[in-house]
C-alpha cells in the first residue's frame, strides 16, 4: 500500500503532461525504427526473418530500459539531491522495502506506458509480431530490472553528474550492444560471452523470441530474475548506507 502511495504521487504528476511525456518518450524509438528498420535494414533478413520484424522487439527492450531507468532513477536522483523531497519519504513511517519498491514502480509504470505506446505504433508497421503472455512477462521483467537499476544508481550517486556518467558508461553501450540491433549469432564467441553479461541482452533475447514465436529462452528469463534480485538487494544496501 505504501509503495502504491509513492507511485500515486507520480501518476498525479504524469497525468498533467501525459501527451507531452508520450511524445518525448516515443520520439527516440521511432527514430531508431526509421534509421535501423527502414533505412539500414531495408531488404535485410536475419535468420529468415525480415530485419524490421527482428529489430522491433529490440527497440521495445531499449525503450523499456531507458524509460524505466530514467523514470525511477533520474527522478529519484533529482528528488534526493535537488528537491530534497526524498527526505520526506525517509522520515515517513514506511518500510525501506515499500519505499524502494514504490520508487522502482514509478519506473515500471513509465516503462510500460512508453513500451506499450511504441508497441501499438510498431504493430501497425510489423503486424506479424506475436504479443502474448511470454512477451508481456518479458516486458514486465525488463521494466522491473531496469527500474531497480535506476533506483540503485540514484541512491549511490553523489551528484547529478554521477547519474549522467552512469548512463553514459553503462546504458549507452548497452543500447547498441545488448542484442537490440543485431543477432548474437553473428558475433565472435568471446564477444558473445561478454554480451551475455549485459542485462539488456537477455531482455532483447526474451522479447524477440516471444514476439517471433521462437522457442522461449527460459535461461535468459532466469538471468533477468537474477539481475532483478541483484539490483533490488543493491538498492536496499544503498538506502541503508544513506542513513550512516
Amino acid at each position: 500500500m505504501d509503495a502504491y502511495t509513492i507511485v500515486w504521487s507520480d501518476m498525479m504528476m504524469l497525468r498533467r503532461r501525459f501527451a507531452k511525456y508520450l511524445l518525448t518518450t516515443l520520439l527516440s524509438p521511432l527514430l531508431y525504427l526509421m534509421a535501423f528498420g527502414y533505412g539500414l535494414g531495408r531488404g535485410i533478413s536475419v535468420n529468415g526473418t525480415s530485419y524490421l520484424d527482428f529489430v522491433v522487439p529490440g527497440i521495445i527492450a531499449l525503450t523499456a530500459m531507458t524509460t524505466s531507468f530514467n523514470g525511477a532513477g533520474t527522478r529519484l536522483n533529482t528528488d534526493r539531491l535537488f528537491f530534497k523531497s526524498f527526505d520526506e519519504c525517509l522520515m515517513a513511517p514506511i518500510s525501506s522495502i515499500s519505499l524502494i519498491t514504490g520508487k522502482a514502480m514509478i519506473g515500471v509504470y513509465r516503462g510500460l506506458v512508453s513500451s506499450i505506446a511504441f508497441l501499438l505504433v510498431a504493430m501497425l508497421i510489423a503486424p506479424r509480431l506475436d504479443i502474448g503472455l511470454l512477451f508481456a512477462l518479458s516486458l514486465l521483467f525488463t521494466c522491473l530490472l531496469f527500474s531497480f537499476l535506476g533506483v540503485f544508481a540514484a541512491l549511490l550517486a553523489g551528484t547529478h553528474e554521477d547519474m549522467a556518467t552512469f548512463s553514459s558508461l553503462i546504458l549507452l553501450p548497452m543500447t547498441f550492444l545488448g542484442g537490440t540491433f543485431f543477432s548474437l549469432s553473428q558475433v565472435p564467441i568471446a564477444l558473445k560471452t561478454a554480451l551475455y553479461l549485459l542485462p539488456l541482452t537477455h531482455c532483447s533475447i526474451c522479447l524477440r523470441a516471444a514476439a517471433l514465436g521462437d522457442s522461449f529462452p527460459w535461461e535468459s528469463l532466469l538471468a533477468m530474475a537474477g539481475f532483478l534480485l541483484l539490483f533490488s538487494l543493491g538498492s536496499m544496501a544503498a538506502l541503508k548506507r544513506l542513513s550512516v
Binding site: K84, M91, A92, P93, S95, S243, V244
Partner: protein, 285 residues
C-alpha cells in the same frame, strides 16, 4: 512533565571530523524550544539524527522516550518536520502534496479529507488548494510545508529555519502558526538565525557551538546569567560590550568611566548571550 526530546552525550563524526561532540539537552512536552548556533555548529546534523535521517556516532537521542536509532519506525509517527529548503513536490498541487503526506502516514480517506480541509483553513490557503506549488509565493510554500508537517497530528514539530527568506508579513504569519500549533499541544523544536524570532517564540533556548551545548534556559534566564543590562561603548569605530545584573550597576560603571559620549545603556538580549558564547553575531552568519 515528560521529555519530548532527550539527547544524551550525542556525537557525530564525518570523515574523522566531529560535528557534534557530546551534546546533551532535554526539551519538555509543550515547550517551544529554540536551537541557536552559528553555521556549522551542528544544528542541522542534530536535527537529522533526531528525525532518523542520520545515525549518531555515539550517544543517544530519544523522542517521547523512544530511541531514534533502535525504534525509528515508532519515532517517525511522533514528529513532523518543516525543513529549511523547499521540499515540496513542485509538480503537485498544494492539496496533492498534503494528500501524499497523509497517505504516507496512513490516514484513512475520510480522515485525510477532513484533515486537509482543516489545515488549509489553519494556514489560510483554502483558495490555493488546487494550485501547483510552482505557482504560489514563497510564504505560501512555507505555509504548505507547515500544513504538511501537521497532517498526522504530530506531538513534536521540528522547524528548521522556518522563516528564512520570507518577507516581514509572511514571517509574522508563520510565527502565529507556530504559536497556534503550540497552543494545540505540539511541542516545537526550532532552529533559527533570527534571534528576535527565538525571543518572540521560545519558552527555552539552547545555544550550540562547535557541536557542543553552550547554554540552555529560558531567554530570560540566559539574559540573567549574562547580565540583564548591557553597556555599549564605541571607541575608534569599534563597539565594546559590558554586562551588569541591573541598571544601577550599569549606570555606576558609566559614571565611573566619566565618558558618556557613544555610550548606551540598554537591556541585554538573547543576541548578546549568543555573541558572548559563540564569539559571533548572528547577522554575520
Amino acid at each position: 512533565m515528560n521529555s519530548a526530546v532527550e539527547i544524551i552525550g550525542l556525537a557525530k563524526e564525518y570523515s574523522g571530523k566531529r560535528v557534534i561532540d557530546g551534546l546533551s539537552l532535554e526539551v519538555e512536552e509543550g515547550d517551544v524550544f529554540g536551537f541557536l548556533g552559528p553555521n556549522g555548529a551542528g544544528k542541522s546534523t542534530a536535527i537529522r539524527i533526531l528525525t532518523t535521517l542520520t545515525k549518531p556516532t555515539a550517544g543517544r537521542a530519544l523522542i517521547n522516550g523512544f530511541d531514534v536509532v533502535k525504534e525509528p519506525h515508532r519515532v517517525k509517527s511522533f514528529f513532523g518536520v518543516v525543513q529549511q529548503h523547499l521540499s515540496l513536490n513542485r509538480e503537485l498541487t498544494v492539496k496533492e502534496n498534503l494528500e501524499f503526506h497523509a497517505r504516507l502516514h496512513h490516514l484513512s480517506k475520510s480522515e485525510r479529507d477532513r484533515r486537509i480541509d482543516e489545515l488549509l483553513d489553519f494556514v489560510d490557503m483554502s483558495e490555493q488548494a488546487d494550485q501547483l506549488i510552482d505557482k504560489i509565493s514563497g510564504g505560501m510554500k512555507r505555509r504548505t510545508m507547515i500544513a504538511r508537517a501537521l497532517i498526522h497530528r504530530p506531538k513534536l514539530l521540528f522547524l528548521d529555519e522556518p522563516t528564512v527568506g520570507l518577507d516581514a508579513q509572511s514571517r509574522r504569519r508563520v510565527w502565529d502558526l507556530v504559536r497556534g500549533m503550540n497552543s494545540e499541544g505540539s511541542t516545537v523544536f526550532l532552529t533559527t538565525h533570527y534571534i528576535d524570532e527565538a525571543e518572540a517564540l521560545c519558552h527555552r533556548a539552547g545555544i550550540i557551538h562547535q557541536g557542543r551545548s553552550m547554554a540552555i534556559g529560558s531567554p530570560e534566564e540566559l539574559r540573567r546569567r549574562l547580565g540583564t543590562f548591557a553597556v555599549e561603548s564605541k571607541k575608534e569605530g569599534r563597539t565594546s560590550y559590558r554586562y551588569f545584573p541591573d541598571r544601577e550597576s550599569a549606570s555606576r560603571f558609566v559614571l565611573e568611566r566619566k565618558a558618556s559620549d557613544g555610550v548606551v545603556i540598554r537591556q541585554s538580549s538573547l543576541e548578546d548571550v549568543f555573541i558572548e558564547l559563540t564569539g559571533r553575531r548572528v547577522a554575520e552568519e
